[in-house]
Symmetry: C2
Subunit: 139 residues, 2 copies
DNA sequence: CTTGACTCCGTAGCATGGTACGGACCGTAG
DNA sequence: CTACGGTCCGTACCATGCTACGGAGTCAAG
């Protein structure tokens, strides 16, 4: 086919992924985005998949992963010497991590839901049971 | 009873909650811990419940809540003019927020689990399917 | 060929969430 | 009373994750 993969400039990529242009350069410097090919004039030319990659980064960030952790997730591919078993192991670690987070959030939700439920929504604060439950810790 | 509530110094509190002494002062300045009463010499005297509060803060942080959000959670109590209904509403918002996070983590886990499963653990990286799945986004 | 938008790069600044430091004071054991 | 640790405070510093700035080169429309 004539066009193959239509490449993106930094600005177009930024708009598509809804991040700032500077953020893209920042991610490149910090290994979250691979260095893309350049035009003769030095302009970056991104393959369109980069949009998905940026969206993945954003989602992971919202979930409390650090950029370092996200980079680790992304590096599961493209590390040349890595065996498939290593990748599998690292992915499993991340799964365990994610499951711990989920359980912790579920405990938190349980506390808050109980709280919302026990609160009639009327009366002064002194009778609202929202209080001490909030400080509860691991059982 | 003779002792009632045994009060804690900053250092003891820090050890019990497994945070630094400076962190406690930092949280006080930023409204996450209420200003405790002082001895005549100016030493802080914390009620023992503060340990739970600090542990709650740590847990919430690990889950990706910012200090601002945690403060909001904690302020659901002790805001004098607040009605019970308001508190209830704010708590419900936090529940919704937590549920969004859980769903997002579950999607992430799904992707990774699929990945781990489809990977036999043998062979070179070029045959490991860990790759593109990682970049997947909301469906 | 000019104009305006876009890109490049390096560097600086900002917000968040602490962490460390230094000099002074307190308090208790010997 | 002295020593030694704990505490006080203010300020400075740190890492993370951007965000903005300035000056120069690029490129496409008119």
């Amino acid at each position: 086919m004539r066009n193959g993969t239509a490449r993106l400039t930094t600005g177009r990529l930024a708009r598509l992924a809804d991040v700032g242009v500077e953020t893209i350069r920042f991610y490149e410097r910090h290994g979250l985005l691979p260095e893309p090919p350049r035009t003769p004039a030095g302009y970056r030319e991104y393959p369109p998949e980069t949009v998905r990659r940026l969206r993945f980064i954003r989602r992971a960030k919202e979930l409390g992963f650090t950029l370092r952790e996200i980079r680790e997730l992304l590096e599961l591919r493209m590390t040349p010497g890595t065996t498939c078993a290593e990748i599998r192991g690292r992915a499993q670690e991340k799964v365990d991590d994610i499951e711990r987070r989920i359980r912790s959030l579920e405990r938190m939700r349980g506390t808050l839901v109980q709280l919302v439920r026990s609160c009639r929504g009327r009366g002064p604060i002194s009778e609202c049971p929202v209080l001490d439950a909030l400080e509860e810790d691991e059982p």
